[in-house]
C-alpha cells in the first residue's frame, strides 16, 4: 500500500480506538444506517423525507426533530453513564482502560448538556411557544431550520469522533493546559472545539429567534404579564443564551488557535494564561446551567396549574423570580473555582451572590406547592414527574447552598459531593422537567397520547434509580472520592456506596428503556386525542386540534386574561375559536427550503477539514457556507399564500367551522 494511505488510516483510526467494543459499535451503526437507507428506498420514502422533514421550516416539525434527536442523545449519554458506573462498581475494576474512561466521561458530560438537554428544550420551545402566544410560526422560520441543522450536524460531528480519530478526553469543560497539544495530541479535542462551535451558532440563533418571536408575535391583547409562564421562561432563556454563549465562543476559538495554529493563549509554555480560560468558560458555564433549568421551571409552571385545576399561585412573584435568577446568574461564576487563589474578598462575594439565587428559587418552589394547595391534584404522568421534581430538586438546591459556603467548598470541591449536587439539579430538575413536558405536549405534537400505565412505570424506575444513584455520591464526597477517577483502590471504604450507585444507574437505564417502549407501543396502539385538549388545559395551544394545522391559527385569537383558554371554557365561549365561512382570509406561510441543511452540511465538511487540519477541505466547507448564505439571501420566492378555500377545507375537516 502507498505510504500516504497508511498514514491516512493511522490518522483516522489511531491504535487506541480499535477496541473491540468500538469496532462492534461501528459495525452496528453501519448496518443500521444501511437498513434505514434500504427501508427508505424500498418504501419510496426518500422524497417524502426530503419534502416533509429535511427541508421543512414548520416550527412544529422542527420541534419534533429536535426532540427525537435529543432522545437519541439521551440514549448515547446514558450508555456513557452506565459505562462509567460499571467501571466504578468495585475497586480496581477493569471494565475499560483509563484513557477510554476519560473519553467516556468527557462525552457523557458534553453530550448530555449540549446535545441532549439544550435541543430537548429547544424542541419543546418550538412545539409549544408559538401555539401558546397565538402565533402562526416563529419570527424567522428559516433561521429556525438553520439552528436545528447546525445543532444536528454539530452533534453528528461530536459523535463520529469515537469511531473516526478518537474522542475528546479533557472533560466537558476542557481546561487547558491539559486540552492543549502538549498533553492531548490527538484530534479528539479538535472535535470538541468544532462541534461546540458549530452547534453554538445554532443556539445563539435560536436565542435570537425566540426573543423576537415572543416580543413581536404575541396575539392581540396578550401583554407580557398575561403570557403563560413557559413563554416567560423561553424569553429569559433566550436572553441568557444571547449573552452567555459569546464567551464560550471566544474560549473555544482561542483554544482552537492554540491547537491548530500554534498560538499560546493558554499553553504551559510561553507563559500562557490557562486561568483566563477558566474564567471565560464559567462566565458562560454558570448561566448555562440556568439556561438548562429555566425551561424546566417554565414547564412545571404550566403542568402544576393544569393538573391541580387552579391558576398559578403568585404569578408576578414567579416572573420576578425568573428575572432575578437571570440577572444573578451572571454574577456567580467564580464559585466554580474558589480554590484558584482569588482571595477571601472575591470568594465571599461570589459565595453570597450564589446563595442569593436560592431566594428566587425558593420562592418558586413554595409557589408551586401553594398552587397545588386548594386544588384537585390528578396524578397523570406529566404531574408525576413534577411531584418527583419537588422533593428531589429541594435536596439539590440545599446542597447548592452548602457548596456556596466558601470555606466548606474547599472540602467539597471536585469531590463526588459536587457530582451528586449537579446531577441532583440537572437530572432531578432539567431531565424530570423535560420528560414532564414531553408527556404533556406529546398529544399536541402527534395527535395521540402516550400510554399512562407504562409512563407511570417509566417514572417509578427512573425516580427510584435516581435516588439510589446519586444520594450515595454525597457520602462518597465526604469520604474523599474525587470526580473523574478511572478507578480506586480497595481499603478506602468506597466500595459499598459505589456499588449502590451503579445499581441505581442501571435502574434508571431500565426506566429509560420503558420510556422508549412506551413511545413505540403508544405509536402502534394510538389513543387518539380528538378534542385537542386532553388534559383540560388552560393555555391557547389546547384550543387547537392535535396536531395543529400547518398555519396553527386560522384566525388569530384575542386574549383578555391569563389562562385564556381556561377562561373561554369557564364562560362557555369555546365556539369563539371556530371560524365562519365569511371570515376566512388567505394565510402567508413560509416555503420549504434546502438552504439550511446545505449550510449545515457545509459547516460539517469544513469542520472535518479543521479537525484533521486538511486545509483544502476546510476551505471547501467555507466556500459551501458562503454559497449557501448567498443562495439564501438572493432567493426571493420564499413564501406562499394559502388561499381561503384550502384553509376553509382544512378547518372543515377539523370540525372547526360554524355551520
Amino acid at each position: 500500500m502507498r505510504p500516504w494511505f497508511i498514514h491516512l488510516i493511522k490518522l483516522l483510526f489511531p491504535p487506541q480506538v480499535l477496541l473491540p467494543d468500538i469496532v462492534g459499535i461501528d459495525i452496528g451503526l453501519t448496518l443500521s444506517a444501511l437498513a434505514i437507507a434500504l427501508y427508505l428506498t424500498k418504501a419510496r420514502r426518500w422524497g417524502w423525507l426530503w419534502r416533509e422533514w429535511l427541508t421543512t421550516v414548520d416550527h412544529k416539525r422542527i420541534g419534533i426533530m429536535y426532540i427525537i434527536a435529543a432522545l437519541i442523545m439521551l440514549f448515547r449519554g446514558g450508555v456513557d453513564a452506565l459505562m462509567i458506573r460499571s467501571q466504578l462498581i468495585v475497586p480496581e475494576a477493569h471494565f475499560m482502560g483509563a484513557q477510554q474512561y476519560d473519553e467516556v466521561f468527557t462525552t457523557h458530560g458534553t453530550v448530555m448538556i449540549f446535545f441532549m438537554a439544550m435541543p430537548f428544550f429547544f424542541g419543546l420551545f418550538n412545539v409549544a411557544v408559538p401555539l401558546m402566544i397565538g402565533a402562526r410560526d416563529v419570527a424567522f422560520p428559516r433561521l429556525n431550520a438553520i439552528s436545528f441543522w447546525l445543532f444536528a450536524f454539530g452533534a453528528a460531528l461530536f459523535n463520529i469522533s469515537f469511531s473516526i480519530g478518537g474522542s475528546p478526553s479533557a472533560g466537558w469543560f476542557s481546561y487547558p493546559p491539559y486540552s492543549e497539544l502538549q498533553f492531548n495530541p490527538g484530534v479528539g479535542e479538535n472535535y470538541y472545539l468544532l462541534a461546540l462551535q458549530v452547534s453554538g451558532i445554532g443556539s445563539i440563533a435560536t436565542g435570537i429567534n425566540f426573543l423576537v418571536t415572543i416580543l413581536k408575535l404575541r396575539a392581540p391583547g396578550m401583554t407580557l404579564m398575561k403570557m403563560p409562564l413557559f413563554v416567560w421562561s423561553a424569553l429569559v432563556t433566550s436572553t441568557l443564551i444571547l449573552f452567555a454563549f459569546p464567551p464560550l465562543t471566544v474560549a473555544l476559538g482561542l483554544t482552537m488557535l492554540d491547537r491548530l495554529f500554534g498560538a499560546s493563549f493558554f499553553t504551559l509554555a510561553h507563559e500562557g494564561m490557562p486561568m483566563m480560560y477558566a474564567n471565560l468558560f464559567w462566565i458562560f458555564g454558570h448561566p448555562e446551567v440556568y439556561i438548562l433549568i429555566m425551561p424546566a421551571f417554565g414547564i412545571f409552571s404550566e403542568v402544576v396549574p393544569t393538573f391541580s385545576r387552579k391558576p398559578l399561585f403568585g404569578y408576578e412573584a414567579m416572573v420576578i423570580s425568573l428575572l432575578a435568577i437571570t440577572f444573578l446568574s451572571y454574577g456567580v461564576w467564580v464559585h466554580h473555582f474558589f480554590e484558584m487563589g482569588a482571595g477571601p474578598g472575591v470568594n465571599v462575594f461570589f459565595g453570597l451572590s450564589t446563595m442569593l439565587i436560592a431566594i428566587p428559587t425558593g420562592v418558586k418552589m413554595f409557589n408551586w406547592l401553594f398552587t397545588m394547595w386548594g386544588g384537585r391534584i390528578r396524578l397523570s404522568v406529566p404531574m408525576l414527574w413534577q411531584l418527583g421534581f419537588i422533593p428531589t430538586f429541594v435536596v439539590g438546591g440545599a446542597s447548592g447552598v452548602m457548596l456556596a459556603a466558601v470555606a466548606a467548598d474547599y472540602q467539597y470541591h471536585n469531590s463526588y459531593f459536587v457530582i451528586a449536587h449537579f446531577h441532583n439539579v440537572i437530572v432531578g430538575g432539567t431531565v424530570f422537567g423535560l420528560l414532564s413536558g414531553m408527556y404533556y405536549w406529546w398529544p399536541k405534537m402527534f395527535g395521540w397520547k402516550l400510554n399512562e400505565r407504562q409512563g407511570r412505570w417509566a417514572f417509578a424506575f427512573f425516580f427510584t434509580g435516581f435516588w439510589l444513584t446519586f444520594m450515595p455520591q454525597y457520602f462518597l464526597g465526604l469520604e474523599g472520592m474525587t470526580r473523574r477517577m478511572a478507578s480506586y483502590p480497595p481499603g478506602l471504604g468506597w466500595g459499598g456506596l459505589n456499588a449502590m450507585s451503579t445499581i441505581g444507574a442501571f435502574i434508571m437505564g431500565v426506566g429509560f428503556a420503558i420510556l422508549v417502549y412506551n413511545i413505540a407501543w403508544s405509536r402502534m396502539h394510538p389513543e387518539w386525542d380528538t378534542t385537542g385538549d386532553p388534559w383540560d388545559g388552560r393555555t391557547l395551544e389546547w384550543s387547537l386540534p392535535s396536531p395543529a394545522p400547518a398555519y396553527n391559527f386560522a384566525r388569530i385569537p384575542e386574549v383578555h386574561e391569563r389562562d385564556a383558554w381556561w377562561a373561554m371554557k369557564q364562560r362557555g365561549e369555546t365556539d369563539a375559536v371556530k371560524l365562519s365561512p365569511d371570515q376566512v382570509e388567505p394565510i402567508h406561510v413560509p416555503k420549504n427550503t434546502p438552504m439550511p441543511i446545505c449550510l449545515a452540511v457545509s459547516f460539517f465538511v469544513g469542520s472535518i477539514g479543521m479537525v484533521f487540519a486538511w486545509h483544502w477541505m476546510a476551505i471547501l466547507g467555507g466556500l459551501g457556507v458562503v454559497a449557501a448564505l448567498a443562495y439564501g439571501s438572493l432567493e426571493d420566492d420564499t413564501d406562499r399564500e394559502l388561499d381561503p378555500t384550502t384553509v376553509l377545507n382544512t378547518e372543515k375537516r377539523l370540525g372547526r367551522v360554524h355551520p
Partner: protein
C-alpha cells in the same frame, strides 16, 4: 405509590447516615484546625438545609394527601386563588432569613482561613508534575517526592505551583484543597494537631493517571520532625538537574523519593502572587 417510594428511600438512607461516623469519612474527621473550621461550617449548613428539606417534603406530602382529585375529597377547592400577599411575603422572607444565618459564618470563616496563625510557619513548596508530587523545604533545603513530613502544632504554609496541567492539592483530614497551576504560585496553610499519616491526593483531573497521584502527609512531633530532617541530610544524595528533568518530563508514576538538597531554580518563586505581612497573605501585583 410515591409515598411508598419515599419511605423506601429513608430505609435505604439510614445505613448511610449511621455509617457517617466511620473513619473512612475523612472530611468528617479533622486532624487540624483548618479542617475543623471547615467541618463546622459543613455541619451548620447541613443542619439548616436538612430543616428546609424536611419542611418542603412534609408540606408536599400533606398537600398530596389532602388535595388529591378523588370523588369524596372534602378539602376546600379554591379555583380562583391566585395569591395572598402575606403568604408571598413569608415565602420570600424565610429564605432571606435562612441565608442571613448562613452568610455570617461563611464570611467569618472564609476570612479566618486566609490568615495564618503564626508569624513563622514552616514553608513547603509544592509542585505537581505528571503524575507525582514534588515537595521542597526552602528553610530546611531538603526535598521529597510523593510524601512529606510536617511537625504537629505548627502551621505549615504550602506554596503551590504546577509544571503540568492544573492539579489540586487535597489532604481532607487536614483541610480543603487549593489548585496547583502552571505559571502561578498560590498559598494554602494547614496544620496538624494529631500526629498521624494522612492520605492526600490530586483532586483535579490532569491526565490518565491523575487518580493514582496520591501522597502521604506524615504529621510528627516537632522533635521527630527535626530528627527526620537531620536524617535526610545525612542519608540521601542531593537532587540534580537531571533528576528534576526526569521527574518533570516523564509522564509516569514513581514511588517515594528523598533528596538532601535541590537546585534552587526548580521552584518558580517569581510567580508568587502573595507576600506574607504579619498574619495575612497579601496579594502582590504581577508586572
Amino acid at each position: 405509590m410515591r409515598r411508598r417510594l419515599k419511605r423506601g428511600w429513608i430505609l435505604l438512607a439510614s445505613p448511610l447516615l449511621l455509617s457517617g461516623c466511620g473513619s473512612e469519612y475523612v472530611v468528617l474527621h479533622p486532624a487540624g484546625p483548618v479542617a475543623a473550621t471547615e467541618l463546622h461550617l459543613i455541619e451548620l449548613s447541613a443542619a439548616i438545609m436538612t430543616g428546609i428539606i424536611l419542611v418542603v417534603w412534609a408540606l408536599l406530602a400533606y398537600i398530596l394527601v389532602r388535595f388529591r382529585d378523588t370523588p369524596n375529597n372534602r378539602a376546600p377547592y379554591l379555583p380562583n386563588w391566585r395569591g395572598t400577599l402575606w403568604l408571598e411575603a413569608l415565602v420570600f422572607g424565610v429564605p432571606v432569613l435562612v441565608l442571613l444565618i448562613m452568610a455570617v459564618p461563611t464570611i467569618k470563616k472564609t476570612y479566618a482561613l486566609d490568615h495564618i496563625p503564626s508569624r513563622h510557619p514552616l514553608i513547603i513548596d509544592v509542585t505537581s508534575l505528571d503524575y507525582k508530587w514534588l515537595f521542597e523545604y526552602p528553610q530546611q533545603h531538603v526535598a521529597t517526592v510523593n510524601y512529606f513530613y510536617m511537625p504537629t502544632g505548627q502551621p505549615v504554609l504550602f506554596q503551590l505551583t504546577a509544571h503540568s496541567p492544573f492539579g489540586a492539592f487535597w489532604v481532607p483530614n487536614l483541610g480543603g484543597m487549593e489548585y496547583t497551576m502552571p505559571n502561578r504560585v498560590l498559598p494554602l496553610w494547614l496544620e496538624a494537631r494529631r500526629p498521624g499519616v494522612y492520605l492526600g491526593r490530586n483532586a483535579n483531573y490532569s491526565g490518565v493517571d491523575f487518580w493514582r497521584m496520591t501522597f502521604s502527609a506524615h504529621a510528627v512531633s516537632p522533635a521527630a520532625f527535626q530528627a527526620w530532617v537531620r536524617q535526610v541530610k545525612r542519608t540521601y544524595r542531593p537532587m540534580t538537574e537531571d533528576d528534576y528533568r526526569r521527574l518533570a518530563t516523564h509522564f509516569d508514576l514513581v514511588g517515594q523519593e528523598t533528596y538532601s538538597a535541590y537546585p534552587s531554580d526548580t521552584f518558580p518563586e517569581r510567580f508568587r502572587e502573595f507576600t506574607i505581612q504579619g498574619l495575612h497573605y497579601v496579594p502582590t501585583r504581577h508586572p
